[in-house]
């Protein structure tokens, strides 16, 4: 009880401090040397990183080192980016490169880094009605599911996983809108969709992390592996982290966001990711550290310096 009360007082104090900080940013930018201790970083992220428990592992040492707290809000990728667009979060960790690029091109995000990756797997009931087991071509496997009209549960929530699934259907040349009742859009998080697929013996596309975390509780098998186990590159699932542009939203904790990005892309943070396991299996593969230049991770894909409309101009309106 005492702990809670103290925490509540601290929360009130932090609220007051945040209010004051808001005022001071209006009147001028003095007080910048007060440091970031005691601040709260709001991170919007996807259900897949949150539900695996990885964030708790990363945030605790970060909080200890800087004396700050991290509020992680778990949303779908689309919602997480939308929250950041409104300036309600300071940093975003998501896994849909195309949506991240859009976010940056609109000027809402700065200083993107590749963070880590894992992969997607196609899972389904052990009897495998579409006969896709062991296939190393996910496009063919999806075509087989559609041809046999075997049940398939789609996330249907604009998440990174949903975006990837639609990308694969695109590759098959089939039109999702014309699918029959075998194709269900759940509109739920990954965990819920895996539970639904179990109930119905249906196929679904899942990120490996969530599947591994839940595999003991569900009766589903991997039928198509992702690139981590030698599957097709199309199933790669890269995570990026982006700070919210402080020139667009002057209330964001930009310095704290950069400290966070710095921490989790550092060797220490990357080690934590490397060593995080669920049920004895590694869930995520660090991707930040590279001795070779890797400029493409900082900017939208296909961006080059010749492009007009440089971000600092367009975002300052």
């Amino acid at each position: 009880m005492t702990i809670q009360r103290r925490e509540f007082v601290a929360a009130l104090a932090a609220g007051g401090a945040a209010g004051l900080a808001g005022c001071s940013t209006l009147t001028g930018d003095d007080g910048g040397d007060a440091g970031i201790s005691g601040e709260t970083l709001t991170l919007t992220t996807t259900t897949s990183t949150y539900n695996t428990g990885l964030l708790d592992e990363l945030n605790a040492p970060f909080e200890d080192r800087y004396g700050v707290s991290v509020d992680a809000v778990s949303q779908g990728t689309g919602q997480a980016l939308e929250t950041a667009r409104n300036g309600d979060s300071d940093v975003v960790m998501v896994h849909a490169r195309s949506l991240e690029d859009e976010f940056m091109e609109e000027g809402y995000g700065v200083n993107r880094r590749d963070l880590m990756y894992n992969d997607f797997v196609v899972i389904g009931g052990p009897n495998d009605p579409a006969g896709i087991g062991g296939s190393d071509d996910v496009t063919e496997a999806f075509t087989a599911i559609a041809d046999s009209e075997s049940s398939f549960v789609s996330r249907g929530d604009d998440s990174g996983t949903h975006t990837k699934e639609l990308e694969i259907w695109d590759e098959t040349g089939l039109n999702v809108d014309e699918f029959g009742e075998w194709y269900q859009e759940a509109g739920q998080g990954m965990g819920d969709v895996i539970n639904m697929a179990t109930q119905q013996g249906a196929y679904t596309l899942a990120d490996r992390g969530t599947y591994l975390d839940m595999q003991d509780e569900v009766d589903l098998e991997i039928h198509v592996q992702g690139p981590i186990e030698g599957g097709p590159e199309l199933l790669a699932n890269p995570y990026g982290i982006v700070a919210v542009n402080p020139a667009v939203h002057d209330n964001v904790e930009y310095d704290l966001a950069m400290a966070y990005i710095g921490f989790i892309t550092s060797p220490e943070g990357q080690d934590l990711i490397e060593n995080y396991t669920a049920n004895g299996e590694q869930l995520f593969y660090p991707e930040s550290l590279s001795e070779e230049p890797n400029f493409q991770q900082y900017v939208p894909e296909g961006w080059s310096a010749d492009n007009t409309g440089n971000s600092s101009d367009s975002s300052d309106e």
């Binding site: 702990i3 809670q4 509540f8 708790d56 909080e63 300036g87 569900v218």
Partner: protein, 238 residues
Amino acid sequence: MSLESAATVPLFAEFPFEWNYIRSIIVVSLYVSVAAVALSTLCSLPIALAVGFTDFRGKGLLTSIINTGMGFPSVVVGLAVLFTVSNEGPLGSLELVFTREAMIMSQFVLAAPVVTGVSLAAVSSVEQNVRDAAYAMGGTRLDVALVTIKEARYGIATAVLAGFGRAISEVGSVLIVGGNIASADGTSKTRTLTTAIQLEAQRGRFETAMILGVVLLAIVLVVNGIVVRLGSDGGGYR
């Protein structure tokens, strides 16, 4: 994670982390719901008294608006509050998004019509005779209002508890405006019983979800028990 708490609660001694987690969720749930209902009651009672004992044009319309409010979908309320407190919204500068204060706001909006509607019915059932008696004995308008509240006390208590029941078992709006946040050390910041149950079920941690569900049920049962007791036993007001 605290070792003392594990020691003081032998039942959960094996799961100090879980117990801390569950306890903090209960505290947040109660804090948010009690605060929201207390504020709702402070606003609703004067409204109920004013509406109950004055005649004006549009009284019927106002009453039906209040009654409609009792059925507001919580997700819609959550969205509306989110737009209000979001950085882009009118209250953006207060930085309330993903805080307990924002959750209190949305639960206030949900509970206030319930408290107002039920206490309006209770207050309206107080006989004019009794109010006249209070006035005739030298009571001021405030005294008459207080007598009305006392006469309607079981109905008002029912209203408050109904508002509490609505607030504590509601999931949509607190999820949207609160963000279902727990710290890395496993204590809840804006995670309530309902949002925690949803998350734990999603994670496949059904045991934790069940424990939380039992706690929520117990709270709701106790509250309903109090309502029933108030209704049957006169409450010992002497």
